[in-house]
Each structure stands twice: as C-alpha cells, then as structure tokens.
Amino acid sequence: MSMGNKHTLTISSHYDHIRQVCEFIATGAQQAGLDEDAIFQVELACDEACTNIIEHAYGEEGIGDIKATWEANPQSFTITLHDNGRSFNPDAVKDPTFIKPDTTPNPDDLQVGGLGIHFMRNLMDEVHYQFDEKQGNSLIMVKYIE
C-alpha cells in the first residue's frame, strides 16, 4: 500500500449502509497493519460514530451522506467521518449514568447516544471534532499502531 494516501467511501445515511463503512475501514486497518483486536475496535468505533451521525446530526435516515476517509502512516491509522447535518459535538455528551459502578442500569439511558461516544473514546487513542458552517461536521479518530 502507499502510505499517506487517503481512501474515501461515501454512503447515504441509512443504518443498513453502516456495515459498508465498517468493512471499508476494517480493510484499511488491515492494510495498515493493525492487529485483529485493533481492527475490531476501529470497526466498532466507526459503527457507533455513523449511528450517532444518523441519529443526532441528521436526526433521521436518508437525508444526507456520510463520507468516510482513512489514511495510515507507520505510527497511526486515522479515520475521518464527515457529514452535513446539524452541529454535533461529542465532547458535550456525558457518559451515560449506568456506566458508573453500582448504578442500576436503566435501558432508557441507552437511547441518548452516550454509549456510542463512550465506546469511541475508549476504543480510539484520539477523538477530535470539527464543525464548519459550510463544510459540516468532521469527526477524526486516531488509532496508534504499536
């Protein structure tokens, strides 16, 4: 593979299409030399991020695109997910309360998208968010290559 090149896939924002992004990213992660565990982790982080884009940035299915890009260098594997939905800053979302020890979990807490963000923060080494009035939302997630 050629290091530093960007690889891009754009899907329409349907839940059924998220799998395509997962496979695209997993293939890239494999080429970049991530081990099986790390590939599983970047795949799950992408899955949750795409779900959040549909649920929160677009608010429903099928009203915009999600552009997924990956690039790799010997030190890291970087994923960028771009959408044109509402500004959605994951940093503003608190971890769901049920994750605290000894707290009785309430399934209602699972509806808020906090679970996905919790996964993204825990599975990836870096998570950044950018919003631009014209360009929309960009979520950048980095996995270090050991």
Binding site: Y15, R19, P101, P105, P107, L110, H118, F119, N122
Partner: protein
Amino acid sequence: MNNQKQIWQEQYPHNIWLVGVRGRLDQSLTPQLNETLTNLLANGRYRLMLDFNGVTYINSGGLRCLIIAWRKAKTENGDVVLFGLDNRILEVFTMIGFDKIFRIVNTSLEAQAALA
C-alpha cells in the same frame, strides 16, 4: 451468510430457554434477536441463556437489545445469562460495566445451573 440459522431457540428443563446467536450482532441481526427475546418474554419465558459462541461482533444497538430483555426478565424474577463470549466481545461488555450487570459464564451447563 450461509443458510444456517443465525438466531435459534431451544427449551431446557425448569422452563429455561436457550437462545443461540451466530454472526455479527449489528443493525442487520439485532432486530431478529430482539423479536425472539420479546416473544419468549411475552410468553412467560423469563429464564434465558444466550449462547454467544458464534458472536463475532456487537455494537451498542445489540447491547441495548440485551439490556431491555434483561430488565424485563428481572422484573419477573427471571434472568438473562450469557455464555461463550470470546475475549473481544467480553472486552466490550467490560468497557461499559455490563460484565457486572449480566451473569456471564463459560458453558451452557454453567448457565443452566445459574438459572435453575
């Protein structure tokens, strides 16, 4: 995917029911699991053991489906016990504290004992 069923159910003694899952528990498979669990619970089957030996992936939607079934079973003095999770799947559970919520064991025999 092959022709094998990805979700199946089997009855055991003491009104214990096994639900087997094979494949990726994501947007494509979770609705089937949800339907199976909802039907069992609606028919008074509150002692459920889930065979995760064939599960290669799970996301937050899959976890949400499990916790909803768990809560329903618990309110009826039942339980949802999981067995056969591989290390990657177990790590996902641990990351959000679900390993403390669900009883997770290694084999179907241990799951039966936990539910009997």
